[in-house]
Symmetry: C2
DNA sequence: CTGAAAGCGCTTACAG
DNA sequence: CTGAAAGCGCTTACAG
């Protein structure tokens, strides 16, 4: 806008009176009707520079003389100028928003990932938008919505995404990081070594004497399901067992999914004496069913989880699990994404593996 | 933009080749360098109408003849047109983004509120941005950031917000809904009746024979702390006790806060025989300390929580608590906000009270 | 190191 | 019911 900025008469809205000093006394009323936000031109005028220069100071995209910068910064503070994000996006191409797409907000693991991202994004003044997407269709449409909104980058736990959606993302030129999945060319990957974590927890069960170890997986197509199953099989093979003989059930990554899968596994003959669940929520469901069927955990049935959410240490018996550092994962995702946004990385697919940790508790 | 739209040569970016039909064969390479997004003018041209008309169809802000509308919608689909949100915001004044400000993402209660909001926002194609803000300063700066970003509305659990910040919000004309706090003029309020919930759980403890009932509160200034304390006192008074004599400790709404407060309360003389915690996380901390000090729950010490997060039913002993319907609360917040955005409400401060429910488990 | 000018892609009076 | 024109508030070549 272009009215003369009379900061004396600026009202609580952050608005500037357009009426000029003469009407200052009316300003409070007048501005509510005819006011307009402080714009870059108001700042330029107040600082005695051009709008371009104000823009340079705000964006930091080209050098500005120290004294000029000081005058501009002073004017910005005095007028309480806040750049209009829509205008900036339209001209500059950045929305200042990063998206996180997770399968569900009901698993406390994901909010912690979000909190970790915020640790990095807030200091950079980037907004975080979070979408929960269950089922393949909703995941695809969630991604599409975010691309339409021109978010600057996406972190996704791409369970059930179609390959096309991911490819679309890459082709749209939106930087992205996937979380705990298979590497996707063009985007970075943050994960923990799920194969190794599942191998360790299975080896632990074997060392405790359990022999009929079953695997309780989430969505069959999800990478964590597949890799954790691979880890179980690798431990069984190393112990001289037949990995193909292990009982396996696939449901979904929820407590209820865990219940269903466990009922199914316990109905097999021979019934398993240990269940390696693909996450803690499912393991909690397994313990529900064990209690329901009068099985003692860990005597009749051992149960292990994955992630180490807070509930894992609260349930009785407390849950043996593999710690997955959610907050660190969130931070790593945000850092990788920012490096892409800053243009520090091109044509590279990076992988960050964070360390997991076997936590032995009462359930095994 | 204004190049002639040749949708045959549109590439995967959703871009339109600017080179025209003659260079169609080069388009794939060419467009990556010189392409531009499909714009409203491309759609207008393809549909044989003006840009204004396309805008009316997209925004639905004025009637369009059925046949015209059909032609436009067809062109939009064919060209895969997606309005530029920055341009729309600049001209139209709406960002299409709603914000949720919560004290922490580590309490699973808040992600569930977010999920409830998504139930309402996603069908309306609104983006949800979530900010965790601990401590008064960070809360204020979080709100200020969101106002700068011109979000369309804010839902806030305003623990530790300064009154000025809330007033600033109202004065900035940003619709807002507060969650579980005191009513703020100009914004709506969604809550459950905390006084009554705390009164019920305290009456339950009294009926079980507990007499030295202490209250374990979060931030002293937070409305839930104050109202739940009021409920406890009201129950004590109704039973003929002296409400002022009840032991009270204020820490913060976390498991660790619960531990500290409980240690403090147990050190008093006489020690309490029951602790009413201001939320489940704090109650879990209280149970931690009881175990640590060799106290049996509920025999030596009863503990009750508030919210009924999933962990409440997992811990041993399972937690007596008051159910707070997080997802419903989120939905109600989003609905109220949308009604304000739609202009259906003016100069009214509405309050929605959702029903709570006493859940008696093993800890009392 | 700085400024004048063009224009990003929409929406909205205004006129018919 | 529809169109031509102006302009939202920025950023970015371009020129000095």
């Amino acid at each position: 806008m272009s009215s003369s900025a009379c900061d004396v008469t600026r009202n609580l809205h952050g608005h500037v009176c357009v009426c000029g000093p003469i009407l200052a006394c009316w300003c409070k009323t007048f501005c509510d009707v005819r006011s307009t936000m402080v714009g870059i031109r108001d700042v330029a005028e107040a600082a005695g520079v051009s709008a371009s220069t104000v823009s340079q100071v705000v964006t930091g995209k080209r050098p500005v003389a120290a004294t000029t910068r000081a005058r501009v910064e002073d004017a910005i503070a005095r007028l309480d100028y806040r750049p209009h994000p829509g205008a900036a996006q339209l001209r500059g191409g950045r929305s200042g928003t990063i998206a996180l797409v997770v399968p569900t907000l009901e698993n406390p693991f994901y909010p912690l990932v979000a909190a970790g991202m915020q640790d990095i994004l807030v200091p950079r003044d980037l907004l975080l938008t979070i979408t929960d997407s269950s089922g393949p269709r909703r995941s695809d449409s969630a991604i599409r919505r975010l691309v339409s909104r021109r978010v600057d980058g996406i972190v996704a736990a791409p369970f059930g995404f179609s390959t096309e959606t991911l490819a679309e993302l890459r082709d749209a030129g939106v930087p992205f990081v996937t979380l705990g999945a298979a590497p996707v060319p063009g985007g970075d990957l943050v994960h923990t070594d799920d194969v190794e974590g599942a191998r360790e927890v299975t080896a632990h069960l074997l060392s405790r004497g359990y022999r009929r170890i079953a695997f309780l997986g989430g969505d069959e197509s999800a990478t964590p399901t597949r890799q954790r199953l691979e880890g179980v099989r690798s431990a069984l093979a190393a112990a001289g067992g037949d990995p193909a003989a292990a009982a396996v059930a696939f449901t979904d990554f929820t407590r209820e999914g865990g219940r269903q899968g466990t009922r199914e596994l316990l109905a097999r003959d021979p019934a398993p004496d240990a269940i390696v669940a693909a996450n803690d929520l499912m393991a909690i469901g397994a313990i529900d069913v064990a209690r329901e069927q009068g099985l003692r955990v860990p005597d009749d049935l051992a149960v292990t989880g994955y992630d180490d959410i807070e509930a894992a240490s609260l349930i009785t018996p407390s849950l043996t699990t593999v710690e997955n550092p959610a907050r660190e994962i969130g931070r790593a995702c945000a850092r990788l994404l920012l490096e892409r946004l800053d243009g520090a990385v091109e044509n590279v697919t990076r992988t960050v593996a964070l360390s997991h940790r076997l936590i032995i508790r009462e359930s095994s």
